[in-house]
């Protein structure tokens, strides 16, 4: 091996791995450098340059919110995937295990990821436990709802109408419903939701889902309450033209304030258009797809 050949090999050794474990001939080139002061001096300069430049690149820091944004997006996708799987009866595939990675430290994004990732099994049939839980909540619902309807709801609805221009009438109304300790009865919810969605009742309200979702004039189909990871979620299904939209509302107070920002995330999961946003103290998520989709 000549010194020039050794140079051609040595400068392929990555910074931080000057041994060049993956570079053929690196050992022989290193031996030659050890015996050749001129070559050794050249290699020293080369290593200094590589190390210096590598450190410069390593100083590039991602924006502080990037990891949280990615986690929020991932949680959204997992959440949406689970909802889709439950609605279609399909079994979800698990992501490959990351066995060789260290256990992460507890961080601020844990709560949201955990909250949006229910612990119960995928696509389970309704179980006795579920019905017992539903029965208990129904009893509580009746008691609290009577109090709420007498004392809180009229005021809330009035203030909702007055504050319609703040974010959106629909969002604000949904937020009022979600403030209830337990979800309101379906009939009342649907009626009020329909009343709200009626374009003649609320002309040109801002559409929280953007122009493509066109919720004005949408027909409420159902409203249910679900408990995921102890967090109450209000779930509406509305149909708008050829599209069916599932709207989920979570109380942002359930999460640390620094985890959820008033940002919109959009993606497509298994044919559903997924949108999330937050505002007025609530987190909203919609899954939309054509009603004719199988």
């Amino acid at each position: 091996m000549t010194p020039d050949e050794a140079k051609a090999i040595l400068h392929l050794c990555p910074p931080g791995d000057e041994g060049g474990a993956d570079v053929p001939g690196a050992g022989e080139a290193r031996d030659l450098a050890a015996a050749n002061p001129q070559l050794a001096a050249w290699w020293e300069l080369e290593k200094n340059f590589d190390g210096q430049f590598s450190r410069k690149l390593a100083s590039i820091a991602p924006p502080a919110e990037l990891a949280a944004t990615i986690m929020r997006g991932g949680a959204t996708i997992f959440f949406a995937s689970r909802l889709i799987a439950e609605s279609t009866g399909e079994t979800l595939e698990e992501l490959p295990a990351i066995a060789d990675e260290p256990e992460p430290k507890k961080s601020a994004v844990d709560t949201l990821a955990a909250a949006l990732t229910p612990e119960k099994e995928l696509a389970p049939p309704p179980s006795i436990n579920w019905w017992w839980r539903a029965a208990i909540f129904s009893v509580v619902l009746v008691v609290i709802l009577l109090l709420v309807m007498l004392l809180v709801l009229p005021t809330s609805l009035n203030s909702g109408a007055a504050a319609g221009a703040q974010l959106s009438d629909f969002t604000h109304y949904a937020a009022q419903l979600a403030t209830l300790p337990v979800p309101p009865p379906s009939g009342h919810t649907l009626a009020e939701l329909q009343k709200y969605l009626d374009a003649s009742h609320a002309p040109n309200p801002p559409d929280p889902l953007g122009p493509s979702s066109n919720l004005n004039g949408a027909t409420p189909i159902s409203a249910t309450a679900e408990i995921w990871n102890t967090h109450p979620i209000t779930h509406y299904i509305v149909q708008s033209g050829p599209e069916v939209t599932h709207l989920f509302i979570l109380n942002q107070a359930e999460f640390p304030n620094d985890e959820v920002e008033a940002k919109i995330f959009e993606d497509t999961v298994d044919g559903y258009r997924v949108q999330t946003w937050s505002g007025d103290g609530f987190i909203y998520m919609t899954l939309s797809r054509p009603a004719t989709h199988p």
């Binding site: 080369e46 430049f53 590598s54 690149l57 990351i98 990821a113 990732t117």
Partner: protein, 166 residues
């Protein structure tokens, strides 16, 4: 989706988002684009990662996905670097390199020939081994060697020119 699923994703993000972001920054030379590329890569994994075969190397897959998306988004052809480079090039003066900040160093990649940019960025970021770089870029490892060697010569020339001008 299980709790394990979420934890796996979180581990993956925590372990790789910084390296992927830096790689994206070297390619795009723009913070917003780098963020978009990094997010897209993880969202694609969250959406489709379950389809990866058992035992697949996730890290090269992430870098390959990011690079593919970068190539897909890229519209304008990259300007060619000046020809006639010497077979070897002396490193620029250390003081000039020391004065560079990270984004300025990454900006030098914009002046490199397109084929050498990704291999050289991964060489300096040192997040992947040569076989992993070859897998991520879908290129034989011998070609990665050649592109890193060529890229280093170009990089030194570019930095030396900038040092002369300043």
């Amino acid at each position: 989706m299980s709790r394990t699923q979420s934890l796996n994703f979180k581990k993956l993000v925590e372990n790789h988002f910084t390296g992927l972001y830096r790689f994206a920054y070297c390619l795009a030379n723009d913070e917003q684009t780098a963020c978009d590329l990094t997010q897209h890569t993880f969202f694609l994994y969250a959406n489709k990662g379950a389809l990866l075969r058992e035992g697949a190397k996730i890290k090269p897959w992430l870098y390959a996905t990011l690079y593919s998306e970068f190539l897909r988004q890229r519209t304008a052809p990259h300007p060619e670097a000046p020809g006639g480079l010497p077979a070897t090039a002396p490193p620029p003066v250390p003081e000039f390199i020391a004065a560079l900040d990270g984004p300025s160093a990454a900006a030098a990649f914009a002046h490199l020939d397109e084929p050498v940019r990704a291999p050289l960025a991964l060489f300096y970021l040192h997040n992947l081994t040569y076989p992993e770089i070859a897998e991520a870029l879908d290129t034989p490892v011998e070609a990665v060697f050649a592109r890193v060697a060529d890229g280093k010569i170009q990089l030194k020339k570019i930095l030396a020119d900038h040092a002369d001008q300043s």
